[in-house]
């Protein structure tokens, strides 16, 4: 440490600059997570002072000067840092044909963090995805020609369990890709029906250039392990932003896992970090929205075009044709880009006819609530439960969102709850009420235009489980598939059917069977009512009752996104007439942070 300071004090232009350089230099070395020893001239990132000396000495090499293989061209980020803070006299500046051309073409003016919303077809993306966009001096009125920098795991062929396990435990390497932004917009907006939010940061041209030049040197020699939860696309973005603007210290504001949604929040919550937010609704959402703006007659026209078997109908209303074209685009996004030939031809004909008619602009989309407006993900709760006896409840859930939470910013009627746990405390006992290891639900409206399944899955441990009145600890697994419908007043009705398995200490606790679940969800800004009924039918006849009904009702009042007051009522019912379990009433206060 001290030698570096002494060394620098003779070079740095000011103390402030020296501190800044020191932080940036250390961060540029990625001591903790970079795996390739060749990335450091000294073979490790442990001694930044030695590494600095070695770097400067390599930069002075005569060999390869002015060619792509010179150390300066392999480490343009380090070079930029040194030249900026320590002056340009330490080594002659080498030309780097490839790098120079690359950075000249990119000519970055600023940096945006881009958030792609959840992808309903993949529960893994309930958190969204983030990448960086380098704002080039591109086309007027469009940023599609900007460049997107993506950090992701290098996965080729692995599937299933091994893939998940490897990804979570660092079995993959991360890699960077740089693409024109329009490719990302097409991929998410058009291809996957995901909404995009752009957060333009306050980073300027020089900081943008510093990040890119650093990424160049990472691409040359560095190697990073990719952990799905902790060292992922989003943590790397924070890493790069912290490198360019050390005082933000974004990474230190994260727990050990980093999820994309949170990175957006940590940026957005400070006005000195984000200059502007831009929203790009997906083609699916635009089509949906445009369709609802039409009169009944026009809607019928759209359906006629979509349903017609032999070519185009005689439709001549531009608005109807326009919305039909958008509906076809929305179908594109569900079919992974491959459309049946007949639909492709229909699209061509609709567009041709549209091009020959003059048409006015469609109404603009209402903006969706942004991801940064959603509740935070970690939840603690305190409350009381009353059934056979009364006890206090203490709850903790590391992530992320359940059906009762404030819905804004999350996929509507979705749930991804990890390790949702609660303790039951009374004057003699302290016991687990439950641990929901994983609970996922996605309820999607099944409509004429969008035929989408709803589903749910849950694996949990229930203390004193009331399933078939066992009153014993049980593991319970459930899997359900079904349909849902949403009315205009955001009332959701759903019906799902599936199977369950339960296991406990005693043979009698084992049960395997069929189950069904209904949902009735009423969602308003300040409150939410989630009701339903679960039905279990035992198939292996180990139970005294062959079936059980569990009606429940949950009412939550939201005081802002992060604070909820909740009351829940559950009343298990067995073979008709036998109510062996008392009803259970729970009141809770939940807080998210």
């Amino acid at each position: 440490m001290i030698p570096l300071l002494i060394f620098l004090s003779s070079l740095a232009t000011s103390i402030a600059s020296e501190d800044l350089f020191r932080t940036q230099w250390i961060r540029s070395l990625h001591k903790d997570n970079q795996k390739n020893k060749a990335f450091w001239f000294t073979g490790s990132g442990d001694d930044p002072d030695l590494e600095l000396k070695a770097t400067i000495s390599a930069f002075n090499a005569k060999e390869n000067f002015d060619s792509n293989n010179h150390a300066q061209c392999l480490y343009p980020g380090r070079r930029m840092l040194i030249e900026r803070h320590l002056g340009t006299k330490l080594f002659p500046h080498s030309k780097c044909p490839d790098y120079d051309q690359w950075i000249h073409r990119l000519n970055p003016q600023g940096v945006s963090v881009v958030f792609a919303g959840n992808y309903p077809d993949n529960p893994g993306s309930l958190f969204g995805h983030t990448f960086l966009k380098f704002n080039t001096a591109g086309a007027a009125g469009s940023n599609l020609l900007d460049y997107a920098l993506n950090f992701s795991a290098d996965v080729r062929d692995e599937i299933g369990f091994l893939y998940a396990l490897k990804g979570l435990s660092g079995g993959y390497f991360g890699w960077f890709s740089l693409d024109p932004y329009f490719m990302k917009v097409n991929e998410y907006n058009e291809g996957e029906g995901r909404d995009i939010w752009e957060y333009e940061t306050t980073l300027g041209p020089e900081e943008a250039r510093l990040i890119l030049s650093h990424v160049w040197e990472l691409r040359q020699r560095a190697q990073f392990k990719y952990y799905f939860l902790s060292e992922n696309c989003s943590s790397f973005i924070l890493n790069l932003l912290d490198f360019a603007r050390p005082e933000w210290n974004l990474q230190t504001q994260m727990p050990w896992y980093v999820i994309p949604l949170e990175t957006v929040k940590v940026l957005h919550h400070r006005s000195d970090r984000v200059r502007k937010t831009t929203y790009r609704p997906s083609v699916r959402l635009r089509a949906q929205h445009a369709f609802t703006q039409l009169s009944f007659q026009e809607q019928t026209g759209v359906k006629r075009i979509l349903d017609s078997k032999d070519g185009l109908t005689d439709e001549t209303d531009p608005k109807t044709l326009k919305v039909a074209a958008m509906q076809i685009a929305a179908i594109h996004s569900r079919k992974d880009g491959s459309l049946p030939q007949a639909l492709v031809e229909k699209e061509e004909d609709v567009l041709l006819r549209l091009s020959e008619l003059s048409s006015e602009s469609l109404l603009k989309n209402n903006e969706l609530p942004s991801p940064h407006d959603g509740h935070d993900i970690t939840q603690v709760s305190i409350g009381a439960v009353h059934d056979e006896r009364t006890a206090f409840l203490l709850g903790y859930r590391p992530g992320v969102h359940d059906l009762n939470d404030y819905a804004t910013g999350y996929l509507p009627y979705s749930e991804l709850s990890i390790l949702d746990s609660s303790l039951r405390v009374d004057h003699k006992n302290l016991e687990f009420q439950k641990i929901d290891f994983l609970s996922m639900t996605l309820l999607r409206p099944w409509t004429v235009n969008e035929k989408e399944w709803s589903w749910g899955a849950k694996v949990s441990y229930q203390g004193n489980s009331q399933l078939f009145a066992k009153n014993a600890d049980q593991f319970l697994g459930e899997a359900l598939l079904g349909m849902a419908s949403v009315t205009q007043d955001s009332l959701l009705l759903g019906f799902l059917a599936g199977t369950y398995i339960s296991a406990g200490e005693l043979n009698l606790d084992q049960s395997l069977g069929l189950m069904a679940q209904t949902h009735l969800i009423w969602n308003e800004d300040t409150w939410k009512s989630v009701n339903g009924m679960k039905f279990y039918q035992d198939l292996n006849h180990t139970q005294t009752d062959s079936y059980q009904l569990v009606p429940y009702s949950n009412l939550a009042f939201h005081d802002g996104p992060n604070l909820d007051y909740q009351a829940k009522f559950v009343w298990p019912v067995y073979t008709p007439g036998l109510h062996r379990t008392p009803a259970q009433l729970t009141v809770e206060i939940e807080y998210h942070f």
């Binding site: 969204g128 086309a139 007027a140 009125g141 950090f151 290098d154 979570l168």
Partner: protein, 149 residues
């Protein structure tokens, strides 16, 4: 310990979810890029490989991400090929951001007047045309643009 526990639990429970992942990007931090997206692989040959050359040797990522900044001389075909479907929709509708970007690539100063002119010429330039035919059509239609630059 906590990490290990979560790792195992999540891995066990979400196998199916991961396996179905077709999208590109890391999503939850879980969702992972499939190395070759449809548009990526078809346009790979059109883009510079310089960015990843050194890397491929050392970090085992060869085969991925050869696409980088688009070569200047391939910019038009790359743009049209990647955007053909949404672009022709915007052209037929007579408005859209992809028309602005197109204007910039073809060196047209006035994107606003471009939209109506493209719309009028939709049949000639876009109708049942492949990307290279579209580029040719645009070159002919917008020849005046590059002269103004």
């Amino acid at each position: 310990m906590k990490k290990l526990f979560v790792t195992l639990a999540v891995a066990l429970l979400s196998t199916g979810a991961f396996a179905q992942d077709k999208s590109s990007g890391c999503g939850a931090g879980w969702q992972v890029t499939k190395s070759m997206t449809t548009s990526g692989s078809s346009t790979r040959s059109l883009t510079n490989a310089t960015f990843s050359q050194g890397l491929a040797m050392t970090s085992g990522t060869s085969g991925c991400a050869k696409h980088d900044i688009v070569m200047q001389e391939k910019q038009k075909i790359h743009y049209v090929e990647s955007n053909l479907v949404p672009l022709r929709r915007e052209v037929a509708m007579g408005e859209g951001e992809r028309i602005n970007a197109l204007a910039s690539i073809w060196g047209c100063q006035n994107a606003d007047s471009l939209a109506p002119s493209l719309k009028r010429n939709y049949r000639r330039v876009f109708y049942k045309k492949n990307p290279s035919e579209v580029v040719k059509g645009l070159d002919a239609l917008l020849a005046g643009c590059s002269l103004n630059v």
